[in-house]
Symmetry: D2
């Protein structure tokens, strides 16, 4: 990771501000010969797109992605893929308030402190609009993964909204598309809806916990010690706007386990090793074990709220600030497709990195050894 | 981060295995002219050193660090600093068991799967002995920080051992050195001691939560979007052996807050902005705000326990395995100095990176603006 | 350098193909607060633009650069600067010949061998059109350099066209704009014009030697051992299309010198050290000495010629190939602004890198200096 | 490349000064399972070792390399390989002269200017002793290449010493070991010996041109645009001490060719494409073509000579300086094994990088090829 680039071999460099003419990313290091078109990318962007329910910002952006390079006659060429999304809904408005005042919980003050000069419109570079570029890049990663790891399945969902959790016994991932929250527990949905509606009407917002699971990840991905796949996942998820914590497997709860409980015991199955539990979240020593990779992260509540908060402006004057505009009462909702995209990028990156170093050769377990 | 290197400008590359002749690291990009000697580094290694109480591994290693390059006449030269620690306590023993069998919770199986050929002695490269190199590198970072940011103070401590927490109202960081747990709550110490002793005698182990706080961090460190200081801290902490989760500020608990609660309101103090709370953990939009930087992480219980666990060996045979040897019942204890070292490295790295890009110029707040 | 990115801190990632909808680059790591607009960049692109004389390709491209991000209210913000140039002159034509046949001297065959699938239109990614993005990035670098190193002057010119050299005693850099060759020797111009016209009419082309000199480079830029400023310049220039050799200072001729001759002796002048000669080209041990930095490189003749050459096609059939189209008889001409741009990027990158590591502190020579 | 590291996937980080206790390197990203021992590396170091003839420095160093990590039971493990060479011949002597005075042609003054504080003993970090670490790393690369590209052959030799060239028609690479100059023209050897002896006795030195050829390089290595294999070779060779120019294929002479002459025409041979010439030096568009890769570079004369030269010291005083000590009259001689090592590292690095991105898939030419 270096400033605005992430990835080792599959490298994504994003650019663009919330209210500039466009935003996008360059995807470098993509394998050649992979079928790819805008139509492969657009559905992922549509899933992230705001304005689809009252629970997400009412900003209307078509978020149409264009491929400007790196694809020829429907297939990748191995050269950089430029993905651009034009910003069409740049409302002409008076930014007088936030141009000078620092919205609490936002990066306004730190961007001012670091750069002295900043694009304050809609948060500029620190806006969650940047994540549209990640989702587009994730779409490229998925197209490659579909070819090289056809058994892989990445699924993100919300497991907690504010103080409201789910009942894991009721989880049905097939119902994620049926509600505006990516909630996997159908019975929790109406409760969440009422809860969030209430917060919204009270000019408030709330945080969330998102879980992303990747099934079908082969053993052997990850590059210890500082290119561990869990380190890279932690970095990738923490880089998403508003994320304050990242867990792998049991995460923080691992602190309360004993060694006897935590040991994921191993038995020999017909197709190789089988673990009797997955406290580790599919990663041991920074390398994937073949079990599902499980990542969870916390998103703080949307900082833009209609309730006045105390702050200062650049002149050092103390002011009260209401953040008007079109905002998500739970920004965690839209983090779900973003997190899936980051998972896809990290997994492909490590798959390529492993192929580079080891050629994908694997230590045999069992008879042939 | 790339394989065994971390950092952007202050780059640390570690090398070495648990039972090889030596281990160490190359610290590249260090500013020149900084006073440095082995005597500056050794105390940090001594703090991490095993064998100092019955609660850490009884392996006896002097862990004497030697500076092989990059320092001349007591000062850094700006060229790579090589730090080497010889392994002296490489007991001759029969590794028959673990040479072939995969210890549950360890990286044995994933290293085998990825590399086919591995140094199984003491976990080889995946051993926590690698962290000695980080602590040495952290010592270099601290020497530089003492010069460029004299007001900086980094403090790590354990806030939870297994199911036992602390009472935050009793925290006294001045007592950390008085107990073998880096526990900041003196009244919790005897309880923890009894708890851990009991686990140890029952051939068990337990996890922990560590907190590291950095006070005196200037505003403006961090490089959005993918070089965010919280992303880099997440990656750095997650790369420490046995870490399963990383939190910034309120961490996972941020998910349960409302926007009204979470907003760290700002007032104007005599020396600049003052925040009324620090839910953000000192970082907004990936950039430090001048508040204390607060990181917390969970360490899983030591996987090496004397209680037999089910596993398989490389021949695919199912076996029961006891991990003999000299092991920490709570490996989290020794993670404290390691986490402090990682914090020091990340902060210095970002301080240098920021100086490179912005020259350390800062947006003024207040009259002079 | 990694695939399509160059630079350590001032990082440029280019993208785009010759006949795709657009090409461009992301400039990351730019200092904030620097005045920048399209008007600052366009003159550099105009200098490189084809179609301005009969000695360069007749392809008509306005090469208008747009800034899509990273600049707000006329100043850089420190976030990624996206520069885009649309390809407008994408003639609809039959590429039947070169779609399948490999033009000798071109990268057609190696792109085919490596990627299997390639954009053959106009050379795709390997086209010299990519250098427009470099020139735009160089314009950003120059805007920053003008602020941080106001005394710096970068000048590129052609010192040899084919077998025709210049008389160094007649060099007048003020005349570079008076001829279509960036030739610094006014008396050589008519000779070169006749020579090149003859080659062009004979369906041939010719190589060239370009020299770039940077005056006003401060001492202390460069990061030994593998980030030496001469290593980075060598890499930067060699990455320009058709370049086959790079020289620093005396270059290849240094091989024929004796140690007595080659020693650039040093005297003490009123403003510090003064060298009595500059065989070293301003770089000692990979670090700038304060003397002018002198780089020279050879460009091979344009490979696209109207004279038939023997080759094969993808079916393995032997064919004779004429490369029709609008081509430069001496592609070296247009390499001049590109080389200046690369020099600007490398110098700024090293200036930032040095500021990051050393803070720009310098060893004093003499009593006060 | 970043400060003291080179390579994309096969990354080498060197450390150490001329008169420090040791020097060495970390080789990261090496494939696992490759047979490797000190005995595989020592011969390459012995070839570079000084003190073997009157034409190289009489400093006596055993240059014994030790493998401290990354190899277990005779095979690489895929973890970092630490290679250390102890400096044994650190003569105790008075450095009074050069501690303060800047030897012309050396990096003394630029290190002083950049870092203010430097290890002046024997040139410190800028000494050619650093190249021992590269040669060791190159030995690792060769061990891997022998396994993955068994047909590859890398050969370096001197084609010009000062004003004395070779007769290419007499070249016999089998005779390289028969003379102290790596001269491939047996009839030139006595002439060179007399020439160099004369220079040496006259307290002088001279430059050289080295050529390195790699036969058996597969087509498809190289990563345009900024990871071109020729860019990386240029950077790698230019980073060797005293190198002032790098040529690929025809190099500077390409400037004098016409397009008709320069086109390497292609015919179809029994095993695929065959080129009728190799002006390109085996690289087209930054990607290897399957032809021999040909690199040539110029080494300036040894700057340490017994003839007094004018210079200044750190106090700004003008002095005359003789560089006593044990020096090579033609430092180019010892650059030959270094250049071979760099070639090996770059080729392996690109082979791994290509395997990562493309999986080594290749575009077919002809019906089946």
């Amino acid at each position: 990771m270096s400033l605005n680039t992430f990835g080792h071999l599959f490298r994504v460099t994003t650019w663009g501000e919330s209210h500039g003419p466009a935003l996008g990313c360059t995807v470098d290091g993509c394998p050649p010969g992979v079928a790819l078109s805008e139509a492969d990318l657009q559905p992922w962007l549509d899933a992230r797109k705001p304005g689809t329910s009252k629970f997400t910002t009412q900003r209307k952006e078509p978020d149409e992605v264009r491929i400007l390079s790196g694809v020829f006659e429907g297939k990748t060429t191995g050269t950089p893929i430029q993905l651009m999304i034009e910003n069409t809904d740049q409302r002409s408005k008076d930014y007088g308030d936030i141009a000078q005042s620092f919205r609490p919980g936002h990066a306004d003050i730190t961007y001012h402190q670091k750069y002295a000069h900043r694009d304050y419109r809609g948060g500029g570079r620190s806006s969650a609009r940047e994540t549209a570029a990640r989702v587009a890049a994730g779409g490229v990663a998925r197209a490659v993964l579909a070819q090289v790891l056809p058994g892989l399945r990445i699924t993100g969902y919300m497991v907690q909204m504010g103080t409201k959790g789910i009942d894991r016994s009721r989880v049905d991932l097939g119902t994620l598309g049926d509600n505006p929250f990516w909630c996997p527990d159908p019975l929790a949905v109406p409760e969440w809806a009422a809860y969030l509606d209430d917060l919204r009407l009270n000019h408030n917002s709330v945080g969330a916990v998102i879980e992303v699971i990747a099934e079908g990840v082969p053993a052997g991905l990850g590059a210890p010690i500082y290119g561990k796949i869990d380190s890279d996942l932690a970095s990738a998820m923490m880089s998403i706007n508003a994320v304050k914590a990242v867990e792998i497997g049991d995460g923080m709860a691992a602190a309360m386990l004993t060694g006897v409980e935590n040991a994921d015991e191993i038995r020999m199955g017909p197709n190789g090793p089988e673990f009797l539990s997955n406290h580790a979240g599919g990663i041991l020593g920074g390398i994937s074990s073949g079990q599902p990779v499980v990542v969870r992260f916390a998103v703080k509540p949307t900082s833009s709220i209609l309730t006045p908060r105390q702050t200062i402006n650049a002149r050092g004057e103390e002011v009260d600030l209401i953040t008007k505009g079109r905002h998500d009462p739970c920004v965690g909702i839209r983090a779900v497709p973003v997190a899936e995209a980051m998972m896809a990028c990290v997994l492909l990156d490590h798959w390529l990195l492993d192929r580079g170093q080891t050629g994908g050769a694997r230590g045999v377990i069992g008879l042939k050894n």
